[in-house]
């Protein structure tokens, strides 16, 4: 066993895992609010990233564009819920899936139409110098992991220690009962969409310097994000982040050490992980299965 190679692959895995963790966090946010996986999540993040790119192109400094993009995405997510999903909230799950797919292709092609399909550079605020292990984790990777962890901490505080966070949890857990407590459930769902879009925007802006900005940048990553969310448990934001790092590390280590697996089959690993976790522990490693007496 080549220990140095293993260590390198683990570190590189943590770096890519940061990307997956970020997008998995957004996936879990929306799953909490609406109980469905949003297939258009990646495209929403991609579109937000293009908005940031456009703002910077018009001369906004990085952090101004960063904050503005988060705000615009929040409002955009809220608007998507109010305009598209509120009218069909009683409809069967298949209707939701069709709308997710529609949203996916609308966002994907309008991004291509507005900003075309050429690959664009996206700046990083953290720099590209090496942080650990001679280029294995760059300053940008470190910054990305840091921002993901800060985001996670903020979400924890929001949901555990604010009244609006509690109202959102109540609305997601038992909409009818929440309504009887006077909670405006529809607006809580919309707020969930807004927050998920905002988190997705952060994820997109952090991922773009690594994978480059183009309309299809999120398609592969979203699959890893789903894998991370399922591994960690769709009900647990913390689990999603740990799941993200786990998927990144497993992907790299398996790609290196399992013969014939190589780089070509790396995406398969994400799918195998989803199936394996669903077979063995459907609620995910950190998801809560509800205990209830009657």
């Amino acid at each position: 066993m080549n220990w140095e190679l293993l260590l390198h692959q683990v570190l590189a895995g943590l770096a890519t895992g940061g990307i997956y963790a970020c997008i998995a966090l957004a996936v879990v946010m929306i799953y909490q609010a609406i109980d469905h996986l949003n297939f258009a999540q990646g495209e929403m993040a991609m579109f937000s990233t293009f908005i940031a790119w456009q703002l910077m192109n018009w001369g906004c400094p990085y952090w101004v564009a960063f904050v503005l993009t988060i705000a615009i995405s929040f409002v955009g997510g809220l608007a998507i819920e109010r305009i598209v999903f509120k009218p069909i909230h009683d409809a069967p799950i298949l209707s939701h899936i069709v709308v997710f797919i529609a949203l996916f292709s609308i966002l994907n092609s309008s991004a291509g139409w507005i900003w075309d399909y050429t690959i664009k550079d996206f700046p990083t605020p953290f720099g590209t110098r090496s942080l650990i292990g001679n280029g294995l984790i760059s300053a940008h990777d470190g910054g990305m992991i840091g921002v993901t962890l800060v985001l996670l901490a903020l979400l924890y505080l929001f949901f555990r220690h604010t009244r609006i966070g509690l109202a959102m949890r109540a609305a997601a857990a038992n909409p009818e009962s929440a309504r009887l407590a006077g909670i405006r459930v529809g607006w809580m769902v919309a707020l969930g969409w807004g927050m998920a879009a905002a988190i997705g925007a952060v994820a997109g802006m952090l991922i773009a310097p690594v994978v480059f900005l183009e309309p299809n940048m999120m398609i592969g990553i979203l699959l890893y994000g789903f894998a991370a969310a399922v591994v960690g448990g769709l009900t647990s934001p913390g689990g999603a982040v740990i799941g993200g790092f786990a998927v990144g590390v497993i992907e790299n280590v398996a790609g290196t050490f399992i013969p014939y697996f190589g780089r070509e089959l790396k995406l398969t690993i994400a799918l195998v992980l989803i199936v394996a976790v669903l077979l063995v522990k459907p609620s995910g490693l950190f998801g809560r299965s509800v205990v209830s007496r009657v």
């Binding site: 109540a170 857990a173 009887l180 006077g182 509800v290 205990v291």
Partner: protein, 238 residues
């Protein structure tokens, strides 16, 4: 003669195209306890759901003189009508104390909310012992108490209770009904109680309505209904 707090006239309710209530007249006096009796499927739960805006209605509903028919649930709740639903509506993943805070979500007087949580624990000491526990792990009786406690947190003027005795041991039911009586007297909460257990409900309530397939059969003071042998035999089954 006390004032009428809630009044429904010609109340009809619909589930999609199916009509479930047919022109029901109903009144709850301020400070009083009224019970709504009837067999399974008579429309008792539907009547409560109609009053709190959870199903499509026709007809007139007035709360404290104001028309409320057709308003969304959240608005009706904010007027001071707390609905304790069938099945208790527990937030199973949240703690007992979080459940109570959810009940106070429409209020913004933070110190008063803390006082009221304490007051609920005063009525239901067992909830205090389990305040940090996930509410889904409580027993049925404790969950029913939590549901009443959550409704109290709204500081309601009217409480709609849907079969609070369902599935509970007789001793627990007695305890719960004693507390409901105390709540009615001490906190001046008017109550509209739907029950399968007619004898229990008639003991607690001062007025009673008996309905069958969405229509009124008889109404009057609980005493008279209890003493009417025909009604008791044919509708109440005891």
């Amino acid at each position: 003669m006390s004032a009428t707090l809630l009044e429904a006239k010609g109340l009809c309710a619909y589930y999609g195209a199916t009509q479930a209530l047919f022109g029901l007249d109903l009144a709850v006096e301020a400070g009083g306890i009224t019970t709504l009796l009837g067999a399974n499927g008579a429309g008792k739960t539907t009547a409560l759901r109609a009053l709190s805006g959870m199903v499509r209605v026709a007809g007139e509903i007035r709360f404290d003189g104001r028309p409320i028919a057709g308003r969304p649930v959240e608005q009706i709740v904010r007027l001071g009508i707390a609905h304790v639903p069938q099945g208790r509506g527990t937030f199973v993943r949240q703690t007992v104390e979080e459940n109570l805070q959810i009940g106070a979500m429409t209020r913004h007087d933070h110190t008063e909310i803390a006082t009221d949580i304490d007051r609920v624990y005063g009525y239901f000491p067992r909830l205090r012992e389990r305040r940090r526990q996930q509410a889904g792990t409580l027993s049925g009786g404790e969950q029913q108490m939590l549901a009443v406690g959550r409704a109290m947190m709204l500081r309601p003027r009217l409480m709609l209770l849907d079969e609070p005795s369902f599935g509970l041991a007789p001793l627990i039911v007695q305890e719960l009904f004693d507390i409901l009586r105390a709540l009615n007297r001490e906190a001046n909460v008017s109550i509209l109680l739907v029950e399968q257990n007619a004898s229990l409900a008639l003991d607690l309530a001062d007025h009673a309505y008996l309905i069958e397939t969405g229509r009124l059969v008889i109404k009057g003071p609980s005493r008279d209904i209890r003493d009417d042998e025909t009604v008791r035999r044919s509708y109440l089954g005891y």
